[in-house]
């Protein structure tokens, strides 16, 4: 059954239809052609699909597209201001926190949500914030460096 979804993505109002079984990730990638959020485990375990939903980081692969109705969603595409990268994106580049890069959009969204919650995250806050994001290149130290740098710059 097709349902109509009225939502706000990266500040812009969007209206589109999707089947009831569609995930928010499929809606973003396949219906809206926004390929920044990554499809990986598709079971809510790896965090590559993380988006910010009404201010909170969630796994878009296990969220119904129908739940986008009336919600405000921020994806990785919504962070840069024109050509100017968001401080979290810039910090990942400056510290070399990217290896293969596939997990990076999800990590950046988790970190953005963390720094929206607190500008002075403790090591425990950082660990909690990225515990749902998996990097199989296992470059976590650089990612933690990036978070600390971004927190200073914000």
């Amino acid at each position: 059954m097709s349902i109509t979804i009225n939502t706000k993505i990266n500040g812009s109002s969007v209206t589109a239809t999707a089947d009831a079984s569609t995930s928010l990730l499929e809606f973003l990638r396949d219906t809206l052609e926004m390929k920044g959020s990554k499809l990986c485990c598709n079971t809510g375990e790896c965090g590559a699909c993380t988006v910010i939903y009404n201010g909170k980081p969630i796994n878009s692969c296990v969220t119904m597209a129908a739940d986008a109705n009336g919600a405000e969603i921020t994806t990785i595409e919504g962070l840069a201001n024109g050509d100017k990268l968001h401080p979290v994106q810039q910090a990942f580049i400056d510290t070399g926190a990217v290896q293969c890069g596939y997990c990076t959009p999800g990590f950046i969204m988790s970190v953005k949500a963390l720094l929206d919650r607190t500008r002075n995250p403790t090591p425990q806050d950082i660990e909690e914030a990225i515990s749902g994001n998996i990097c199989r290149c296992t470059g976590y130290n650089k990612i933690v460096d990036a978070i600390e740098l971004a927190a200073q710059k914000l």
Binding site: S21, E45, V62, T63, A66, S131
Partner: protein, 289 residues
């Protein structure tokens, strides 16, 4: 696939009366969306998230009421839960990942009726109850009678869990939730053990103890024989050993990809011993002698 978005409990119940057999209730989606992709697509989805009044945590006399749509993160960040029900807080804190905690609901964790459900051992030892709505009225069912098998619970196909009622544990009691898993985050328990111990007024004996075992039987269970063995006695080293072995014998684990049944028996024994030690020491201020 049909899709329903009821705006009231009564509307949800009438949808379930017509479609409950083939449709699935969905809230956070962290389990049901995975089923849709990797198992079988249900005949319909009943999205209950738009029903008002099923959210939130409130104090009710000598206990808390938690709406079934309350997210695990809301429970984890509730000062009331942390202060009054630390064993439930611990389970919410250890639950999956931040992303999942932000969407998964306690009602979903309960009605999934997974033997390893993170909140279920704690709810069992808290003597919590499920408030269910049916077409012919509401029913309150203690969690000790709620779970009927993997994926099966008292809500059936036409009922709706609307609230969880949790009495405050007895004064002076101490509780702990111990989870055995490989990873810190995003891992399902091989074994979960919740213990809630109340000493008598002299703090020399166990007045009451409740032990909840998860992931080691078709449903989460209370170790009733072990509780009976311990009641009214001081916790000596020999009683502790005996109780831990008895708790392991009360479990009936299976072997799966996470661990063998034999290993799970050992872990039930070890975690029961650890849980009893910790709660005894915290509740009485005494070493085990």
């Amino acid at each position: 696939m049909e899709y329903f978005e009821p705006r009231s409990v009564s509307e949800a119940l009438s949808v379930l009366a017509r479609h409950g057999a083939e449709a699935k209730i969905i809230a956070g989606g962290t389990d049901v969306m995975v089923d849709i992709k990797f198992k079988e697509e249900p005949g319909g989805l009943v999205n209950i998230k738009k029903i008002p009044g099923l959210n939130g945590i409130s104090e009710n006399g000598a206990g808390l009421r938690i709406g079934s749509l309350t997210t695990i993160r809301e429970i984890e960040t509730s000062a009331l839960v942390r202060e009054k029900l630390p064993v439930l807080w611990e389970a919410a804190h250890q639950f999956a990942s931040l992303q999942v905690r932000n969407t998964a609901t306690i009602g979903g964790n309960i009605c999934r009726a997974s033997p390893s459900g993170e909140t279920l051992g704690p709810l069992l030892v808290l003597d919590a109850k499920a408030k269910l709505a049916f077409g012919d009225g509401e029913k309150t069912v203690p969690f000790t009678a709620f779970f009927q098998g993997p994926g099966k619970c008292s809500a059936g196909t036409n009922g709706l869990l609307i609230q969880i009622e949790i009495p405050y544990p007895p004064a002076g009691s101490k509780s702990v939730y111990l989870k055995h898993a490989v990873r810190g985050a995003m891992d399902i328990a091989m074994v979960g053990v919740a213990v809630l111990m109340t000493p008598d007024s002299s703090k020399n004996n166990i007045q009451d103890v409740r032990i909840g075992l998860a992931a080691v039987a078709p449903t989460p269970v209370r170790a009733a024989k072990t509780e009976a063995l311990l009641r009214g006695k001081p916790l000596s080293p020999s009683l502790l050993r005996e109780a831990a072995v008895l708790a392991a014998s009360e479990s009936s684990p299976i072997s799966d990809q996470r661990s063998s049944a034999e290993y799970r028996h050992w872990i039930v024994e070890a975690l029961t011993r650890k849980g009893l030690e910790q709660t005894w020491q915290a509740a009485t201020g005494k070493e085990i002698a």
